[in-house]
């Protein structure tokens, strides 16, 4: 909350001769200068540069040629770009699974559970492992005849009949999606646990007296109470799927048809030096993300308003 020292009070001390208003101005300027410079230097300036470059055919060093919208046309006409965009669908399916699992385990762990701290920790810990390490862990995990194959042979599969998990183009993308779920599920789970902890417990007590079972309690009390967070995460998952990068980058390096949009963009920019095309790809995806975020903000706004009204009318009906 801002101060309202409208009367021009004078102060003792080092800055004694200054009015409150001027002092505020100085503090504002001093505190914001460095962060704003950094923000412009590493976020907004590159962003505008990116838009500019997207109209050129260029490398990092050397001559630039103006090509107009050609790079944007290329995104849609090149097969690799389009295939990469299609891969996001895998990740969208994955993120729905991820959020459902997160909800399930959050619901189980908010109940009184023996060892809940251990389970929560075990499910969350994969988030804290660095990308390159995760990459090696799963290269090892999926190698033919190694961990996954051995585990499956314990339950009766014949190792020789198992596919090459990361090379077989029919399944390798699903495997990468699975690793992605493995890595990030815990994050959503912890978030949902936090949200569920703030649900009014008297509602559960009342429901119990009415004879509600666990499912009813979950679907009629828990889920509606944390609806906003769930939907927001679902929308965030869409932009997350569009920009899926880490798992294919560290596990397969984008080989064997696993190159997602950003992996492809990274290859084009830093290996093939097609800087203009890469910038156009980035701008295009960013536009998509901004649209999705716009929808998210709209939903957030609508839900916060509607939710309180609905909530009131429901209560009214019950009484």
């Amino acid at each position: 909350m801002p101060h309202n020292f409208t009367n021009q009070k004078r102060l003792r001390g080092g800055m004694g001769a200054m009015t409150m208003k001027n002092q505020q101005r100085i503090v504002t300027a001093v505190f914001l200068a460095v962060p704003l410079i950094l923000l412009f230097m590493f976020t907004y300036f590159p962003f505008f540069k990116m838009i500019q470059f997207s109209f050129y055919d260029m490398k990092y060093i050397g001559k630039r040629t103006w090509v107009g919208l050609q790079n944007y046309k290329d995104i849609f006409s090149r097969d690799d770009c389009f295939d990469a965009l299609k891969l996001s669908l895998y990740y969208m399916v994955g993120s729905v699974v991820q959020l459902s699992l997160a909800l399930l385990f959050a619901a189980l762990l908010t109940e009184k559970t023996k060892g809940s701290k251990f389970f929560r920790g075990a499910l969350y810990f994969p988030c804290l492992i660095g990308g390159i390490a995760v990459g090696f862990i799963f290269k090892f995990f999926f190698t033919h005849g190694f961990i996954l194959d051995t585990l499956l042979s314990f339950v009766g599969f014949d190792i020789d009949s198992l596919p090459y998990w990361l090379k077989d183009t029919k399944i390798n993308n699903w495997m990468l999606v699975a690793t992605s779920v493995w890595r990030y599920m815990g994050q959503n789970m912890v978030l949902f646990i936090g949200a569920m902890a703030s649900v009014d417990t008297t509602q559960y007590e009342a429901a119990e007296i009415d004879g509600a079972n666990r499912w009813q309690k979950f679907f009629y009390i828990t889920l509606p109470s944390i609806k906003t967070i769930v939907i927001l995460n679902l929308i965030l998952a869409i932009s997350g799927s569009l920009s899926a990068f880490e798992m294919p980058y560290v596990v397969t390096g984008g080989g064997f048809g696993t190159s997602t949009y950003f992996v492809l963009m990274n290859t084009l920019a830093h290996k093939n030096q097609k800087v203009g095309l890469a910038c156009a790809m980035a701008v295009f995806l960013l536009t998509l993300i901004l649209i999705v975020t716009g929808i998210q903000k709209y939903v957030e706004y609508r839900m916060s308003d509607d939710y309180s009204k609905k909530h009131q009318s429901k209560r009214g009906a019950k009484i």
């Binding site: 559970t113 969350y124 090696f136 090892f140 666990r214």
Partner: protein, 292 residues
């Protein structure tokens, strides 16, 4: 008021069935999930302790003969230049954490406490910046870093890490909004100026927010590998932990006993932080969620 007897009994039976079956189902699910979450890591630990002949001669699930065989760790430590890597990562962590704590706290203070033209605009500038995926903008950031001669310098990387930080701002903003502004007013009436209010009154109160944001920022800095790989190219001098494992690609790419040892070395610091600070991490995640 008395309920009809039979209804009561039906409910009680249903209750019992739930009471027995549900926990079995629940714990089975949780154990399965924990198993899936931990198996990739545990097999890595097992493999890290195996000798070369054990590794090639036994199944990946067989336990190593000796849990005291640290040879692989020694090799991984040397091949990955881990001594240099830990030193560099430590320098980066200290600078980034101190810097980002002050920067974020200062932004949050000014934005949440002062009314000035452009306040909302600046707030949105930071929030929108969070939407731009880092990987996308690196295409052009690379050029800027190149022109400023910041490539292959630790301070260049540190400055870059400071400039792309929004989680901490979120956390501090939220914290400031919950601190009553009567606190600042009282201090000002006592003759304190705004710098004094920030550094002497509010900053010490921020301790919980500082710890939370430092842990989250610390873990993400520790694990950041994409920009480190791009901007710290001289691997002998500027190796950091997150990229040290790259040493194992190429000819060593299938000697997993060494790779696993390297992986375990890089995970250990994260594990220690996690074991001691899990509650801060959890609360940090939930705080970020409310704002998003």
């Amino acid at each position: 008021m008395s309920r009809p007897y039979n209804i009561h009994r039906v409910q009680k039976n249903k209750f019992n069935a739930q009471k027995i079956l549900f926990p079995i189902f629940k714990y089975a699910l949780l154990i399965l999930a924990a198993f899936i979450a931990l198996v990739p890591i545990v097999t890595c630990i097992i493999t890290a302790f195996k000798t070369k002949s054990e590794y090639s001669g036994t199944s990946v699930m067989t336990l190593p003969k000796s849990w005291l065989n640290f040879d692989n760790f020694r090799v991984a430590w040397e091949k990955g230049h881990m001594a240099v890597a830990f030193k560099n990562t430590f320098i980066i962590l200290v600078c980034v954490l101190v810097g980002s704590t002050f920067i974020s706290a200062m932004i949050a203070y000014v934005i949440s406490r002062f009314k000035f033209i452009g306040n909302r605009f600046i707030r949105s500038l930071f929030m929108i910046a969070a939407l731009i995926p880092g990987i996308a903008s690196q295409v052009t950031v690379y050029q800027i870093m190149y022109n400023l001669h910041l490539i292959n310098t630790l301070y260049g990387y540190i400055i870059l890490m400071l400039g792309t930080d929004v989680i901490s701002i979120y956390i501090f903003l939220q914290f400031f909004e919950n601190l009553p502004s009567s606190l600042d007013e009282a201090a000002i009436l006592d003759g304190c100026n705004y710098f004094g209010v920030f550094f002497r009154i509010l900053f010490p109160l921020l301790r919980p927010a500082i710890i939370t944001s430092a842990i989250l920022k610390g873990v993400s800095t520790y694990n950041e590998y994409y920009m480190a790989n791009l901007y710290l190219q001289d691997k002998n001098k500027y190796q950091v932990i997150s990229t040290s494992l790259y040493a194992f690609t190429g000819p060593m790419g299938n000697q997993y006993q060494y790779i696993c040892a390297g992986v375990i070395i890089t995970i250990i610091p994260a594990l220690i932080i996690f074991l001691f600070c899990q509650n801060y991490i959890y609360s940090g995640i939930s705080q970020g969620a409310v704002k998003e």
